[in-house]
């Protein structure tokens, strides 16, 4: 079948529309049904994606390879986990609207298009589809001032990023004469003029906004804090993975011959992100803001692999990204479990004494925090090991030193969370955690803690995916 490489995306699109109809036509509250159906769709899409063949579709507008499927599955995973987390939370916060899972599905569809894009136009369409859907999800708690503010902020800054991106695309088109990736790669293989380079820089900045790499990170802490936590969990996983995959495929695809031009920009982005992620997180008292800064830092580490510009670097970034997605949804599961007397609490100090009252949850949270700090034997360490190794091999010694110093500083604030849970006395008196949240928490924690025993499969798949992109 000609569409078989795109079968997962088609499933999502058609499924999403059917669910939308079902949601509109039924009189009863269909949030839970739609959410579960969306999760099921995502799982089916992930399975379909795992076995889908490579292909180039629609006259070269879309292209699927092992690389895109790898990123797709990360997106499905992140989105499915975020939806599971929303099941109970949205109900309790009175935002259990059936549109939410459907919006998530369309956002995921946009990400898939974006990841598989083989043309700057499809890239932009996918980018916009996911952004528009995500703006609404950020403001889904429309009666909450913070959520609305987060949605608006995200929209304004996101629109700016989209503007920069499309401006960059138009420049590239104007100077290179095509938007197709393959054609661009051919044309740019003999060098590029200033116009094209400026266009590339704009594209790069637009993408940097999406992965919240410093200095284009300003929206992240506010949006992370303001959006309902399951939405934050979504932001922290699926779009990050998708935008980073897009970043990789654009930089190493059509602009792959211009490494010399963009490499230093990526190095700067990576260095600033790592340093800022570590330094700015120190003063935070809100756990969601802390996660926002931590995500900025993590994107810096992931970019380190891209800055290396080698196959090993790409593999390292993919490994890092996969491990980060898992850590991230587990961390947000822990944050969602922080509810006292029916209200969500978000202060780090609210965790005081957790280890005495809820040893299991404290252990899970501690494992995730240590993993994020990159302490072996937890999975985060291996991510760091791979990116540092790739960057050192590429000779990026100053950047690696920044990375190491940031890791030490970062360890300090991750440790602080553990300190509050284990060493401080207090009575968090959290409400009982629903099974769905516990499930996500423990799946993520177990994967993070036990990765050390079975690292092979992920690493070899990431290697093959990197090969697929680099050709």
């Amino acid at each position: 079948m000609i569409f078989s490489p795109l079968l997962p995306a088609l499933l999502l699109g058609i499924g999403g529309m059917v669910l939308l109809l079902a949601g509109v036509l039924t009189k009863r509250d269909s949030f839970t049904f739609c959410s579960l159906a969306a999760v099921a769709l995502l799982i089916v899409a992930a399975v379909a994606s795992a076995v889908a063949p490579d292909g180039v579709l629609f006259g070269g507008l879309l292209k699927t390879t092992l690389f895109t499927r790898f990123a797709d599955i990360l997106v499905y995973l992140g989105a499915a986990m975020a939806l599971v987390l929303s099941l109970d939370y949205n109900r309790r916060e009175n935002i259990a609207r059936f549109e939410y899972p459907i919006l998530v599905l369309f956002a995921v569809l946009g990400m898939i298009v974006m990841i598989s894009a083989n043309d700057l136009m499809t890239l932009y369409i996918g980018f916009e589809l996911q952004s528009l859907a995500l703006y609404i999800t950020a403001a889904i708690a429309r009666d909450s001032l913070r959520s609305t503010e987060a949605g608006l902020k995200y929209f304004v800054l996101g629109a700016l990023a989209s503007g920069l991106l499309i401006y960059g695309i138009s420049l590239v088109y104007g100077f290179a004469g095509t938007t197709n990736f393959v054609a661009l790669a051919n044309i740019l293989s003999s060098g590029a003029g200033y116009g094209t380079v400026i266009g590339i820089v704009f594209v790069l900045v637009g993408l940097a906004f999406k992965i919240s790499a410093a200095p284009f990170h300003m929206w992240t802490p506010d949006v992370y804090e303001g959006a309902p936590t399951p939405v934050t969990a979504l932001f922290g996983t699926a779009p990050k993975a998708a935008a980073m995959a897009l970043f990789l495929s654009v930089m190493l695809g059509p602009f792959g011959h211009l490494t010399a031009q963009w490499q230093s920009i990526i190095e700067i982005l990576s260095g600033i992100s790592m340093a800022l992620g570590a330094l700015a997180a120190i003063g935070q008292t809100n756990i969601k803001r802390l996660m926002a800064y931590s995500s900025i830092g993590h994107m810096g580490y992931a970019l380190l692999g891209l800055a290396a510009g080698t196959e090993a670097g790409l593999q390292a970034t993919l490994v890092y990204l996969a491990l980060y997605v898992v850590m991230s949804f587990a961390a947000f599961a822990c944050i969602i479990a922080m509810r006292r007397q029916g209200h969500a609490v978000e202060k780090i100090s609210d965790l005081a004494g957790l280890a005495t009252q809820r040893p299991g949850m404290a252990l899970a949270f501690a494992v995730i925090m240590w993993a994020m700090a990159g302490i072996p034997p937890l999975s985060g360490f291996f991510g760091k090991l791979y990116v540092f190794a790739a960057a050192l091999n590429a000779g990026l010694i100053p950047l690696v030193v920044i990375g190491v110093v940031s890791s030490i500083i970062g360890a300090f604030y991750y440790l602080r969370v553990i300190k509050v849970m284990y060493f401080d006395s207090g009575t968090p008196d959290f409400d009982a955690t629903p099974g769905s949240v516990r499930f996500v928490m423990w799946v993520g924690t177990a994967a993070t803690a036990l990765f050390v025993f079975l690292p092979g499969p992920l690493i070899s798949v990431a290697y093959a995916a990197a090969r697929a992109l680099m050709g």
């Binding site: 302490i375 034997p377 090991l385 540092f388 050192l392 030490i408 300190k419 690493i459």
Partner: protein
């Protein structure tokens, strides 16, 4: 090469995790769980110790290389494997860990809060430490080396004394900062050799100008762990604030990780840099021995005094390693064992006082010899061993180091020997203040002598002190082959290329 039908090193390393699993899954009310947790932890550690003794009995001391090796693929495509093995250098460090873990478990009488969490952390610590000594792949080594931090951080922070949080975070950040530099060195050496197998790494030459940088990275990491002056400042806090079993593991086992790292990585893999750093390391060692001994003399708290004496002894070990002579290195290894046992004994003695509700301030103790003769005799024995009395384990290690240093540099050996005199001074101050002076307070006269549990901790330690002191060759003959090979390789690699070729051809 002796092989047993099962992967004994992995069994020893990961068996404590089974204990952790049992502890975590225990059901019942708190008191019942606490008492059962003690038994489960103790039995687990004793079973592991039994495996360790079996390992010793099956070990062939004539071979210089790794024995009981295990290999399994681990990180795909990178030639990073799960590689385990043991040689004469690591054998006794593993045994020391296995031997001290049950003692630490017995010494945890004062732990009454979150008991099973504590024992889980202690068993986890055992796994990480043994794994670190048994790893023969650099990445695997690094993983275990760093992972030691996790349980230790919790042990200090949750069950420690008043300033535990400060001590725990300082400990963690100091060691993490050091280790991350080692990570960079690791990555460089990995690229250089194309493998992280430690045997391959040892035989891959590294340009001399790079060696200096790598050595500094190792110094940052192992120096912090071994508490080499001036990187030792985390140590008195951590030792002082950790609960007694934590202090025992820190002082007796964890401090050896740094010295082991020097011996395993810095010296054999970076021979030129190690030789060039010899004056620096001697200076650091001598400063540690003399300056820290004076600091120890000034302490008013028994636990802190012992902690500083431990830093001073680490100085001796560092001097021994960097003599690059068979005597010096064997002396350092012997001193590592002896120091582990002696310091554990001394800390258990402080635990005896603590469990009787006494503080450790020296001026508030005194005259205990009259009412606690058994305690006094054992404390006396450990103190004498700590100051290097002939007939005890401390003497053999120090004399070997001094002989080794004499071959290289008279002044270093003289100054190191001064350390023995100063050691005698502060240990005698300790003994006098605790055991002899007059009763400072009437309550001291009513303290009961040792109980069965305390005998169970102190007598095996005392027996080992005497065994090591009276018949050391049971231990040294295991060191002979690997240390001789190490020294020979070191000398060879410092010679010119033609000479190197001759040595290899031979």
């Amino acid at each position: 090469m002796p092989q047993i039908g099962f992967p004994i090193l992995s069994v020893i390393t990961f068996l404590p995790l089974l204990g952790v699993f049992l502890l975590v899954t225990m059901q019942g009310d708190d008191a019942a769980v606490a008492s059962r947790a003690r038994i489960v932890a103790l039995v687990t550690s004793l079973v592991v110790l039994a495996f360790g003794l079996y390992l010793w009995s099956a070990f062939n001391p004539a071979l210089p290389g790794y024995q009981f090796t295990e290999t399994a693929p681990w990180l795909a495509g990178l030639d990073i494997g799960y590689r385990m093995g043991v040689d004469g250098i690591s054998l006794f460090l593993i045994l020391l860990t296995l031997f001290l873990t049950p003692i630490a478990i017995l010494a945890s009488g004062s732990i009454t809060r979150r008991v099973r969490g504590f024992f889980s952390a202690l068993l986890l610590l055992e796994t990480m430490t043994v794994g670190m000594f048994a790893a023969t792949d650099f990445v695997l080594f690094y993983v275990f080396f760093e992972a030691v931090l996790l349980p230790m951080y919790l042990i200090i922070g949750v069950w420690g004394g008043e300033k535990r949080i400060y001590a725990a975070i300082k400990f963690f950040v100091f060691t993490l900062a050091g280790s991350l530099f080692m990570l960079l060195a690791l990555v460089w050496m990995w690229r250089n050799a194309g493998s992280t197998d430690m045997v391959t790494l040892t035989h891959t030459p590294i340009p001399a100008n790079v060696q200096i940088w790598l050595f500094l990275a190792f110094l940052a990491s192992f120096g912090v762990k071994a508490a080499v002056w001036p990187l030792h400042t985390w140590l008195p806090d951590a030792y002082g604030e950790a609960p007694l079993p934590g202090t025992i593991m820190l002082a007796a086992v964890l401090s050896k990780m740094g010295a082991y790292g020097f011996l395993r990585f810095a010296v054999p893999m970076l021979p030129n840099a190690a030789a060039a750093a010899e004056p620096l390391m001697f200076t650091l060692g001598v400063v540690a021995v003399i300056y820290i001994s004076f600091v120890a003399l000034a302490q008013t708290d028994m636990k802190r005094l012992i902690a500083y004496s431990s830093v001073a002894h680490m100085g001796i070990i560092i001097i021994g390693i960097f003599t690059f002579t068979v005597e010096g290195i064997e002396g350092a290894l012997f001193q590592m064992l002896s120091h582990g046992i002696v310091i554990a004994g001394l800390f258990v003695c402080t635990g005896v006082l603590l469990s009787r509700g006494e503080g450790l301030v020296l001026s508030r103790l005194g005259g205990l010899a009259a009412r606690m003769p058994a305690f006094a005799a054992l404390l006396m024995l450990f103190s004498l061993a700590n100051l290097g009395m002939p007939g005890t384990s401390g003497f053999i290690g120090e004399i070997l180091v001094i002989v080794g240093a004499m071959k290289v540099n008279f002044w270093v050996s003289l100054l190191a020997a001064t350390g023995m005199v100063l050691g005698a001074a502060y240990m005698l101050v300790l003994v006098r203040a605790v055991l002899f002076d007059k009763f400072t307070r009437p309550e001291l006269a009513d303290l009961p002598d040792l109980k069965v549990r305390e005998y169970a901790m102190l007598l095996p330690l005392a027996a080992l002190v005497l065994w090591l002191g009276i018949y050391p060759s049971n231990f040294t003959h295991v060191f002979d082959a690997p240390v001789a090979a190490l020294v020979q390789a070191h000398t060879a690699s410092l010679m010119s290329h033609s000479a190197l070729a001759m040595v290899t051809a031979k």
